[in-house]
């Protein structure tokens, strides 16, 4: 057991290591953790309101099962490609006398710890719900053991499937794995389309979990569901014990450290590399030549070429294509326009973050080129900011324009929203990224920086969101809407100009 705990400690130190490197990393991590708590309070309040309104939670079994199934899909799909280990593990751990069982047990402990760190919202939610709903002891025990059994079931299954895929590579096995995953993930279809199946009637592990949790929240004890979940847990444990006897170390595949606290961003850089391979096969189309007269125009063209080749532009297009399809679906089903606007409000904020973090991943190591060139860094910052903002605005604007004709929606508010989000979002994210560039903050993890940027962006966008909600609630007339839109655009532009200046000043102080 000592070896298992040693390896577990090592895994924790490597994964969370950079948090120890600087106080800012630790601070940002605390902000991240605390920032999740409102979600827990919101969920708890929602459940309490439902129960006070006399709504039966059991009716939501299928919905909860579908959500958990979707999460399970994300968790298990990677097993299809075999057993991945971090490079340091293959180099130092798997070459030591450690056995597969010890390695897997340490991994299991690590997975459960990390799950609790990143999904801390769930235990907090259950604690608040337990207090506000005055749950009895058996109900609390049922929630605890159901959640534990399901998490362990997932972990056992993931490891067993990954070992099988790594050791017994072959079409038959892949087909079996594919079928098993498809069957297991079938309830997730309910998230995207109407399936004429009630999962409550089927013996799915996710259904048992949903029945146990929802039953416990209403102080009911679904004994059959808990027995079913326990059986799944025991079955997965048996498979895990069997597969862990196999020496799968020679069949593992190394990958760079993939941690939100990792500062090297090598994994993201590898993904960019794959995109570059794709874009080199396709015609490059755009080329950076000497035709642009002004330096700013030249640098903007260079940034645009980067976004076209590293996948930034494609990701943005895909993102808004999916949002537009949801809109089309919502409108064709006679759904109200606000549903789509709320989705746009919630998700459009992600695009500036995505674009800026991609710039950081691709350009951070090459910053020595502009910094040692002697050029005026104002041009450098402006070119990046203008391009990011243009892409973050024009792509959704194009989709909104198309939807205006196809789905007959009013384009004013969505356009104002994306204009404001792109101006405030891109300038905030770029400022934060530049603020944390350089050797002093090199140890600050990229995920934490992105998280703080999102929080600041959301705060600065409060007037925009308030306007959007009030306009919908009070059904404001066109002249009032237009006047308020103009004020919002001016406000967003002022924030943009202010942060753009601050970023330029910061850029002068970057040390590498």
């Amino acid at each position: 057991m000592g070896v298992v705990l040693d390896l577990y400690r090592l895994k924790l130190k490597v994964f969370y290591g950079s948090l120890r490197a600087s106080r800012s990393s630790l601070f940002l991590f605390i902000v991240f953790s605390v920032g999740m708590l409102p979600t827990a309070f919101g969920l708890s309040a929602g459940v309490s309101l439902f129960l006070e309104g006399g709504v039966s939670l059991i009716a939501f079994t299928d919905t909860v099962a579908a959500f958990v199934s979707g999460f399970t899909a994300l968790f298990l799909v990677s097993t299809y490609r075999g057993f991945k280990v971090f490079e340091y593990e293959q180099g130092f751990v798997l070459t030591s006398p450690i056995t597969p069982v010890q390695y897997l047990l340490a991994g299991l402990l690590f997975d459960v710890t990390t799950f609790l760190v990143f999904f801390n919202v769930l235990p907090v939610f259950f604690i608040i719900a337990a207090l506000s709903l005055a749950l009895n002891l058996p109900s609390l025990a049922l929630i605890f053991f159901s959640a534990l059994f399901y998490i362990l079931f997932l972990a056992f299954l993931k490891n067993s499937l990954a070992i099988a895929a790594a050791v017994y590579d072959g079409k038959a096995l892949k087909l079996t794995l594919g079928t098993l995953l498809s069957l297991l993930l079938f309830p997730a279809l309910g998230l995207f389309t109407q399936v004429p199946v009630s999962y409550s009637m089927l013996p799915y592990p996710v259904t048992f979990l949903a029945q146990c949790i929802l039953g416990a929240l209403t102080n009911h004890l679904p004994v059959n569901a808990f027995a079913g979940l326990t059986l799944y847990f025991l079955a997965s444990l048996t498979v895990f014990l069997f597969s862990s006897r196999r020496n799968f170390f020679p069949f593992t595949e190394p990958i760079p450290l993939m941690s939100p606290f990792d500062t090297s961003a090598r994994m993201q850089a590898m993904k960019v590399g794959k995109t570059l391979k794709f874009s080199s096969r396709a015609s490059l189309g755009l080329t950076l030549d000497l035709d642009s007269r002004s330096l700013l125009g030249f640098l903007m063209k260079k940034e645009f070429i980067r976004m076209a080749r590293d996948g930034s532009l494609f990701s943005t297009l895909l993102f808004y294509l999916i949002l537009s399809m949801i809109t089309m679906f919502s409108v064709s089903k006679g759904g109200p326009m606000p549903v789509w606007l709320v989705i746009l409000m919630l998700y459009s904020i992600i695009v500036p973050s995505m674009l800026t973090s991609m710039w950081r991943v691709v350009e951070m190591d090459g910053l020595w080129i502009p910094l040692t060139s002697g050029m005026n860094l104002d041009y450098f910052v402006k070119a990046i900011l203008y391009d990011l903002t243009l892409i973050a605005f024009t792509v959704p604007a194009a989709f909104i324009t198309i939807l205006t004709f196809i789905a007959n929606i009013d384009p004013l508010m969505p356009l104002v929203l994306v204009a404001s989000v792109s101006m405030i979002g891109c300038s905030t994210h770029l400022y934060t990224v530049v603020r944390f560039l350089g050797r002093k903050h090199r140890a600050t993890p990229w995920m934490m920086i992105g998280w703080v940027s999102l929080l600041i962006t959301a705060l600065l966008l409060t007037p925009t969101y308030t306007f959007s909600v009030l306009s919908l609630m009070w059904d404001l007339s066109l002249p009032i809407n237009a006047g308020l839109s103009l004020i919002l655009i001016i406000y967003s532009a002022l924030v943009f100009i202010w942060l753009s200046r601050a970023t330029r000043k910061r850029a002068l102080r970057i040390e590498l």
Binding site: V272, G273, L276, K277, S279, S280, L284, T287, L288, D289, L290, L295, F298, L299, K302, I305, R306, R309, D310, V362, E363, D365, G366, W368, I369, P370, L371, T372, S373, G374, M375, N376, F380, R439, I510, E511, L512
Partner: protein, 269 residues
């Protein structure tokens, strides 16, 4: 006496309280190949980064072509071409595009960029790869492209941090030829290297630094005298003798840093 193109006077730099440079003095003259050598952690890269303007010194004076780099913070960079130790170039650009970019941000006229680009691409045997994305190049090729980009504006002083790592023998030979061609034109080459045999053959003068301080500098004859070595002593032997003898007293911070440091780190102490 030759004119100094680069001069470092009493340069200090600390990282989180650890002194990387402790009053370093250096002088590099026009028309010479100058080598900066020292053990790991001696402060070579720190000194170079301060000169090229991507790191600020705590104290001291650095002049390039007679210009104080803290006064003329950008203009002096036009005199410098720089290639870092770990070359990282924009993977998403082709060689042609990257050299165009390097030229434009240094304000080189379009026609000149085209001429120099053609010249260096030919000189480094990169003709077949010029339309290839940097991502697909080998480490050695990327190093050559980085050197070409550092020369695109024909700088007075070319500064290279470990230039021979990752380059094949033919490439190294070509690079050394290029350095010699440049000094014939009155330009200067400043290299930091661990390859002492190359430094001995290539450099006119060498400075040995240790613990952020200069131990000795001059041509081979001077260095042998300073180390009290024989006439046939190699640079490697001189280097080992001097660095092993080097006394390392407790690092003393510059006077004006002390008050600030005391205030800043009081909590930690």
């Amino acid at each position: 006496m030759a004119e100094a193109i680069l001069r470092l006077t009493d340069v200090w730099k600390a990282y989180d309280g650890v002194q990387a440079l402790q009053g370093l003095d250096l002088e590099v003259f026009r028309g010479e190949i100058f080598g900066l050598i020292g053990p790991n952690g001696a402060g070579k890269t720190t000194a170079i980064k301060i000169v090229v303007g991507i790191l600020r010194m705590d104290k001291g004076v650095v002049t390039v072509g007679g210009r104080d780099i803290t006064v003329d913070q950008y203009g002096y960079k036009g005199l410098i071409g720089y290639v870092p130790e770990m070359v990282s170039l924009p993977d998403y650009l082709t060689i042609d595009e990257f050299l165009t970019y390097a030229g434009r941000i240094r304000g080189v006229p379009s026609l000149t960029i085209r001429e120099r680009m053609d010249f260096y691409i030919k000189a480094f045997n990169l003709e077949e790869k010029r339309k290839t994305l940097v991502f697909f190049l080998s480490r050695g090729m990327k190093q050559k492209v980085a050197v070409a980009s550092a020369l695109i504006h024909d700088p007075d002083i070319l500064i290279l941090d470990e230039p021979f790592i990752g380059i094949d023998p033919a490439g190294q030979f070509r690079l050394k030829e290029l350095f010699n061609d440049r000094i014939k034109d009155g330009k200067t080459v400043f290299i930091s290297t661990h390859m002492l045999d190359s430094a001995e053959r290539l450099c006119h003068r060498v400075a040995i630094i240790h613990g952020g301080r200069g131990l000795a500098s001059g041509d081979m004859e001077n260095l042998r005298k300073l180390s009290q070595a024989g006439a046939d002593t190699t640079l490697e032997e001189v280097f080992l003798k001097l660095t092993e003898e080097a006394v390392q007293p407790y690092p003393e911070e510059p006077a004006e840093k002390k008050a600030w440091s005391l205030f800043r780190f009081r909590g930690r102490k």
